[in-house]
Point group: D2
Chain length 380, copies 4
């Protein structure tokens, strides 16, 4: 019994996910980086089947994921042959690639948003995805107060691509009964009251927003460590620099702003007080590639006023980390559908997302969220 | 309603605890570093009253904690005047200062262990401590299979000072009905089947062994972070170097051995598998003083076989960190007595100790243990 | 035989310099951080006498350096009483405080640049400084092709405050015969062909630009270490964050741009090839204060293609470091005057400056420059 | 015109050197990590020809370097076919493998030292090496007061293998007129008055002792950086852990002692004063392999008594780094012979060695030594 998946965005994360899944199916690699790989879930990793990939980059549309993976991972890497069958289809553009400096065309650019919606719904009715995973480049986006406003903005072309894709998922779900939408980027969906309402009523399970990988979840857990000892954190600095498209995008003002909001929101939630914080993607340097460099520094006050200092440096493969948790989010998406769940699920988001929806949810330490997740899944 | 405390060892930790408590009572400092300071417990921090301090260092016995604090913290530091009344009494020696290079005499050296036991029990009957806190220098010690063997070894002089002190606590408790013994050093008490049995039957609550401060609990929580994401930890290195008496002691083979056992035991408990590990106190360098330097490095395998690297460096005030958690252990000791508890309490040890008793207990991540502790205390 | 000094800017650096000099005169502190303190120079540290301080911040003008030092260093710090006599005079403003958010008025704002020049020249004729030290906040500034253009721009009010101050020094020197101008900020003076020509012909010795302290000289020496072993540096990342006025200023686009040019210029000079580099002041976080946090990461290729990684983290007191080298620059300024030198001196700049003048000079590693400096001074 | 080389020890360094040289000859790799690769020397890298390799490990003797390289670098690594012709011959044992836990037999074990000397001299007379390179496992060894004592100790079997090999080189050189001996390990040769005298009189050029790679030269250069700014270094900690044979050997007391002496000797030489120092190989952890982890921490006093902190962490490929400088040492060995030099050469040792001979030489910063070396070579 397979889980059919459509990927939105044919970048690093989608590529690593597709390549990793095939290698896992062939047992060429251990299932490391997949949080629940050692638990018995109703769906196995091998049940995941990618049935469609969408992008707007003109150098990618029409190519196979095999060709794209060869560029991303180098020609020495053993790319699975199966990916030759997966062709990139043209998706929704809006402003999502603004400033990125490559040629991009969306169906919406040519035919307008309403017609683009119809085309994709119709394609999905034949692909029959259970889960839609959004990993396009981070784009700026606001929330809508109601489902009516959401629909009006989306159809009139004033919304980001992520919101158009979410809307397509809603339309598709209302025809086939249900679907799951995993929003791994910061553009608000699970935290977007109006859009979430629209999705929920159309039969969609939503997980989001902004997949929790890299330095931020580690920071969250270290803050929890300080909180549990009642140490007063005096400040936190966290620098990030990488050489992939995502870091390039984040040098653009609007896109960086989205990340910053996400990351700062957690500090007060965990510590219980405000503390001066500098946490944001800091720069782009090409030779770092997908393996970003993170530098973190914090100081705290211990018993009787003594001050301690911590310095953390790391090199972290950005895209594989996100791909790994997507494997579980896809499986849990299908499980949620099987259980008849609609709308968003805080215990899932709390562990897997940097800004867990619904709107105004508390950002607890990941280490706590993990056990809440196991409980929700009935694993503990 | 006060909690009366006897401190065993008049070193850095005892000094920081005594100084910090007085400054807290005068509201000169915030209660940072005391894990449960923000929760409402039956006993307030201000309820703690130190009624006795024991040591064997001939340069300390007979001096006040005020004099000792002046040496430890420097003459510029505002040592509370109240500590002038607290004189250091002569305690139990055994081999506890072997190789440390200072002149030491215990009651046991002069009169033998059995008479030393009688003297201290009689002193305590007039001091009336609720809680006895062991912070003497780490010494080597084994476990006993039964309470009979424990008693025999202790009285015949073959046991370390810690075990003699625990035995004195048992004798004292059997006269006044109850007492708590907090073992903040690695020498096994809570993990010592025979000794624990003897203590339990005498009416003693025991917390131990080896107070969880410094880099080890942080390492535990970072390992839990890896475990929760199913990342395969390839190795862990953790270096420690400091300039206080404790680090000097750990350059001596036997004492270091005790620490090493404690620290390695947790890795498998948390990760669920063995991983090559180098974790031990590494050296002594005088100018680092009580603020130790910790360097940590680990690598793990993420999704699809990619390898990430983490480097952590820290400067941590060793003794204040331990003093901070002792404030809670003392309060929880009294709470346990009020509840009629005897023997050791895993949910307390699991959070506060590096090697939580009873023997063969699992070493869960501190971040989990914290919520278990709150539950046991009825705070959550 | 004293050296009379006028300080431009009454910020952190000026304050640390003034406080440190008085404490050195009283032998309250060792002369650490002064590179040539252990060599026998014609002038001793105690010969330095600050005779004037200029600023435009309305909360500083008219106050004594004692009052300002109390704010900067806290009221617990033992500020030398001598600083009560040193009052801050009103100086030149131009755009130097733009965006800094405090109220500032320069003589030039009230009377125009030409009259401001006359006022300061006349004041200096009575103060009789040998050396003028520029430590105002970094401001944007261009070079001039000739002394005529320099003069025209400066008098017509289109130049930054630094250039007006340099011009005042030229006018003053042409009256008294000579003076030294030490430019410790990035705004080009020693690298400014037109302005340098004007200064040289007026009898001025110029050292500049941008005092070499903090992480950049260390980076330079580490790059030299790589160069000497023919290791191929693949990339360098260097983050900086601090909480002093200077870091706040550098969050403003123009001011940051000045720093960035300075810092990147050295990499190719030392390594002999271009390498991808991200080196710039990265952020402002108030609680870090004057003790900035620096994080650096580089990778290089070693023998037979193997790749090594280095991570450096540091906390560095920014202003004292600069104040320390100013002590030597002031002494060397006077020595140069005594020798009849005019214009700028590369062997001095090469060690003490991040962007050593004259224009287009090579940025050699500091470790080499040190021995060149000793040679120029006749110390080796 | 080739340079013929005999390698003593068929471990990691010898393997990396042999593999790297072949790959350089085929232009498969750039000459990174070879300090003087970009200078015009009388001998090119390609001129180096390895004509013999000696070891005592019974699992290596008789095998080709190709087979050994396959074990060291993995079977995926493209080992040059040329190494199939290079067979490992049986060499001198003494106590050099004590405690290492593998089966080893030397010619000396079977026939005694004098006969082993004769066998090797005779083999070398047919191999005709210009340069002999010692990269056997670090072993404990003392200095001799005179050449007579040296010879007596060596022939009576009381000397370490390194000294026997040096003696063989002397005997060989006295027959063919000259030879160079490069001692890349800490066992004293260039710092060994008696042995050096014997070698010099036999026509041998000696470079030594202990090839300067890894963290120590970097530490030296950072100390020079502090010295040049007159910063008072309060302490230095430097930890090292690796997973190669060399680190395993250094867990053995005697061998570690040799390293420690080497490393501490430089601190006072560079700074000009003693400072508390903890620098030594710290541990062995197998999965780190040849890429050791180095953690360093130092604090210093800056101007006006302010204290700064530096933390350095690195992962460094140990053996390739040493192999890279051996390429130059071999070439310079031949150049020295061509110039008629005998005995040891401080300007060469000062840059390339951790403990530069002759005995009691000053350990200057590498960054200075580099320019002295260029001068000696006539390159500057």
């Amino acid at each position: 019994m397979s889980i059919k998946v459509v990927l939105l965005g044919a970048g690093y994360v989608a590529t690593h996910l597709a390549v990793g899944l095939e290698r896992l199916k062939k047992r060429l690699v251990e299932p490391y980086g997949i949080p629940l790989a050692n638990y018995k879930l109703p769906y196995k990793i091998e049940d995941i089947e990618i049935v469609g990939v969408y992008d707007v980059d003109n150098s990618k549309v029409g190519k196979s994921l095999y060709e794209i993976a060869t560029q991303v991972m180098g020609s020495d890497y053993p790319i699975p042959e199966e990916l030759k069958k997966l062709k990139v289809s043209r998706g929704v553009h809006r402003d999502s690639t603004k400033g990125m400096g490559f040629s991009a065309t969306g169906l919406d650019d040519v035919r307008g948003v309403p017609e683009a919606v119809d085309v994709l719904v119709s394609e999905w009715l034949s692909l029959k995805p259970d889960v839609v995973v959004n990993v396009i480049t981070t784009e700026y986006g606001n929330s809508y107060p109601s489902k009516e406003v959401a629909e009006e903005y989306i159809l009139s072309g004033k919304s980001p691509a992520t919101h158009v894709y979410a809307y397509i998922t809603a339309k598709y779900a209302s025809k086939v009964g249900q679907a799951a939408f995993v929003n791994a980027i910061p553009t608000p969906v699970a935290n977007n009251d109006g859009l979430l309402n629209l999705l929920e009523e159309s039969g969609v399970v939503v997980f989001g927003d902004d997949g929790a990988t890299g330095a931020t979840p580690l920071t969250a857990d270290i803050l929890e460590h300080m909180f549990q000892r009642n140490r007063k954190v005096e400040f936190i600095v966290q620098f990030n620099i990488g050489g992939n498209t995502d870091f390039y995008a984040l040098t653009l003002e609007d896109k960086n702003k989205m990340k910053e909001i996400t990351k700062s929101s957690m500090v007060k939630d965990i510590l219980g007080y405000e503390t001066p914080t500098y946490i944001k993607p800091t720069g782009y340097l090409e030779p770092l590639g997908d393996k970003k460099y993170v530098a973190m520094h914090l100081e705290y006050i211990s018993f009787n006023g003594f001050r301690d200092s911590i310095y953390i440096n790391a090199r972290i493969n950005d895209s594989p980390a996100l791909a790994g948790i997507l494997v579980d989010l896809i499986r849990i998406g299908k499980i949620a559908l099987d259980r008849g769940v609609r709308g968003t699920v805080y215990p899932v988001n709390a562990f897997f997302m940097k800004k867990p929806g619904p709107n105004n949810s508390r950002n607890i330490a990941k280490t706590r969220a993990y056990y809440e997740l196991l409980r929700w899944l009935g694993l503990k």
